[in-house]
């Protein structure tokens, strides 16, 4: 017999190939072969990704919420006090807050209202209204007395229940008028001002022209008797305000805080103490930082556990399916086809875990926000990236098992399977 070697075309020895679509179909079939196990495997990634997304979302939401609350009042408030100067020299070198503090500060761009106030030393005199002959009722009270500038009402966002606040005219003429805080009015039994009721501080009489119902800042005013600055100076030798309340526009607080002490005391600005609100950006960063650091670690640990779970299950699956791997090799699968199938299975599990985890994380953020009546805030890249992170986790977790599967010798695999 003669042997003739037939001519061999390139097609005859073409390497094995497998379309990506077939690869994906085989991977999906592999996942659904054992659905219960797949669900449990995916759970690890779901928890990890869910924890990460929820952490980032809650941190962002909480950060925004806190800043939002501060914006309302504190972010627009700057307070200057001279108490520090007072401690320095026992009173003698105490810095005086100038009487024209309002004018000086209102000139600054960003200031919307200014008011100065300070305690008035009345020498321990008690406060009483017109005596009523009632032996059981207390009629004289120890009360704080404040001197104030006309702008204080606006600067503290105060509201009067009746009557009016004093103006510069009262102060300059040193009129004997007073505004009562709502607490002190109650104790003195003054409820209306249309009859021009009079209160006495010691032997000095003052006509009550208004009752202060509420303030948003400097709440001690509500339990005090408030005199125009000029009146306090004339009657009691009131020297200087102790506190300047400034209301600023949002975002101007830091700048005004810097300028206010210079405007009030150009020669010794450092002796004044300035309280300003924390910067919103710093605050948000702090909050996010605190929440993130802790929970991102937790989320990362969950994700790692999830990855180990996928790696473990994929490895078990490889060992269980040694026979199948041998069969596929016999049917013409190259090593890379086998590796590709197991890699795709683990990646798909990670991807599904990532999608479910991201959804649950978002829902969790919304749920937490709902219970606190917060506005849920989430960077859009977080839920969009999360499934990819899940898929990457699955891919990395599947590397070792896939290499194990690919390294099996078909003859051995067929025999042991």
């Amino acid at each position: 017999m003669t042997n003739v070697v037939v001519s061999v075309g390139a097609d005859a020895v073409a390497p094995a190939r497998m379309s990506p679509r077939d690869l994906a179909a085989e991977a999906v079939a592999g996942i659904f072969a054992r659905p219960g196990r797949t669900v449990l495997t995916v759970l690890g990634t779901v928890l990890g990704i869910g924890a990460l997304v929820a952490t980032l979302g809650v941190a962002k939401t909480a950060g925004n919420q806190i800043v939002g609350r501060f914006d309302e009042l504190a972010a627009t408030s700057v307070v200057v006090t001279n108490e520090r100067g007072f401690f320095f020299g026992g009173g003698d070198v105490r810095i005086q807050i100038p009487a024209d503090a309002e004018d000086r500060l209102l000139r600054l761009n960003g200031v919307t209202a200014v008011g100065a106030m300070g305690p008035v030393d009345v020498g321990g005199a008690l406060v009483r209204s017109v005596p009523i002959p009632d032996p059981l009722a207390q009629t004289e009270f120890q009360m704080s007395v404040y001197g104030a500038t006309p702008g204080l009402l606006g600067a503290t966002r105060g509201a009067l229940s009746t009557g009016r606040w004093f103006d510069w005219g009262h102060s300059e003429r040193a009129d004997r008028v007073a505004v009562l805080g709502t607490g002190s009015a109650q104790r003195l039994n003054v409820t209306r001002v249309d009859q021009q009721p009079v209160v006495f501080i010691g032997d000095e009489a003052f006509v009550v022209i208004g009752i202060l119902d509420s303030v948003r800042r400097q709440p001690e005013l509500l339990n005090a008797v408030i005199l125009p600055e000029g009146t306090a100076r004339e009657v009691y030798g009131y020297m200087s305000a102790a506190t300047v309340q400034i209301e600023v526009e949002i975002g101007a607080a830091s700048l005004i805080a810097e300028q206010a002490s210079i405007a009030l005391s150009p020669d010794e600005p450092t002796l004044l103490r300035v309280q300003k609100p924390p910067e919103p950006a710093d605050l948000r960063r702090d909050v996010e930082g605190d929440v993130n650091a802790l929970f991102l670690v937790l989320g990362g640990v969950s994700l790692l556990v999830g990855a180990i779970g996928i790696a473990n299950v994929t490895l078990v699956s490889v060992l269980e399916r040694v026979g199948e791997i041998g069969l596929r090799r016999a049917l013409g699968a190259a090593r890379r086809h086998v590796a590709g199938q197991f890699l795709m299975e683990s990646t798909a599990m990670g991807l599904v875990g990532g999608i479910i985890g991201a959804s649950m994380g978002v829902l969790l953020v919304v749920a937490i926000s709902a219970t606190r009546t917060w506005t849920p805030v989430l960077d859009p890249w977080v839920p969009l990236t999360a499934p990819l992170v899940g898929a990457m986790t699955g891919l990395v977790a599947g590397l070792y098992p896939a290499l194990r599967a690919a390294s099996l010798e078909p003859v051995e695999a067929l025999r042991s399977g």
Binding site: A14, P15, V411
Partner: protein, 228 residues
């Protein structure tokens, strides 16, 4: 005169396995050829090298020395990818333990062969159905293998081997897990396939199986003793 090349030709093929320091020869200087359409039985006692020879012919293993020419192609020059490609197109396997995927239906098991050999997608299902008709399982296509008898399972495996229309069908103890009745049915099927011109190599230690073959290659201690 032009003669068609044999489907399988072994030229002084040896295969030695290293077991620690000692090397164990499983096949020694085996030379033989199988022509197209032949039905050849490889028989011999356990450890005589039958399975080693089948694995070499099936390109699942490489000879330590000698050369193996499959349909005129010297397989020793091929890389792993090309050998896998040849397996997917030219060789069909039937195993003693069937190797069916338990979670896939009968037709899905048969279709498994087609995804590695580049068969066009629209051709796949018709080819699988035709192969299942051929083995007499047209009525079982959507069953899971676990619902089938042993003989039926082996016929699914044969359909899976046939669906790619290979040049040669390699069967390793195909009746080893079957009783004599169902095993007989499988052998009858092989006879039909041989009658249609398929080249068959069956490894067995069962003389009843080898009686169906055109000729038998007897192996003992890794050597071809007689060809009868």
């Amino acid at each position: 005169m032009t003669v068609e090349a044999p489907v399988v030709e072994l030229r002084e093929v040896s295969r030695t396995f290293a077991a620690g320091d000692v090397s164990v020869p499983a096949l020694r200087d085996a030379s033989m050829s199988i022509d197209r359409g032949e039905y050849v039985a490889v028989i011999g006692p356990s450890g005589s090298g039958k399975s080693t020879m089948l694995n070499l012919i099936g390109l699942l293993d490489r000879p330590t020395s000698g050369s193996y020419i499959l349909e005129g192609i010297d397989t020793s020059t091929l890389n792993e990818g090309q050998r896998a490609g040849l397996r997917s197109r030219r060789i069909g396997f039937v195993f003693q333990s069937f190797h069916l995927l338990a979670h896939r239906s009968v037709i899905e098991n048969v279709l498994l062969s087609t995804i590695y050999n580049g068969m066009a997608r629209p051709d796949r299902v018709p080819a699988a159905e035709a192969a299942l008709v051929e083995v007499g399982l047209a009525h079982r296509m959507d069953f899971l293998p676990t619902k089938l008898s042993g003989g039926e399972r082996q016929r699914v495996a044969i359909a899976r081997a046939l669906v790619t229309r290979p040049a040669i069908l390699l069967a390793d103890e195909p009746t080893g897990n079957l009783d004599s009745a169902t095993g007989g049915a499988v052998l009858d099927l092989f006879d039909e396939l041989r009658a249609q011109g398929l080249t068959l190599v069956v490894v067995t230690h069962d003389t009843e199986v080898s009686e169906h073959a055109d000729r038998a290659i007897h192996l003992r201690d890794g050597r071809i003793e007689v060809e009868s």
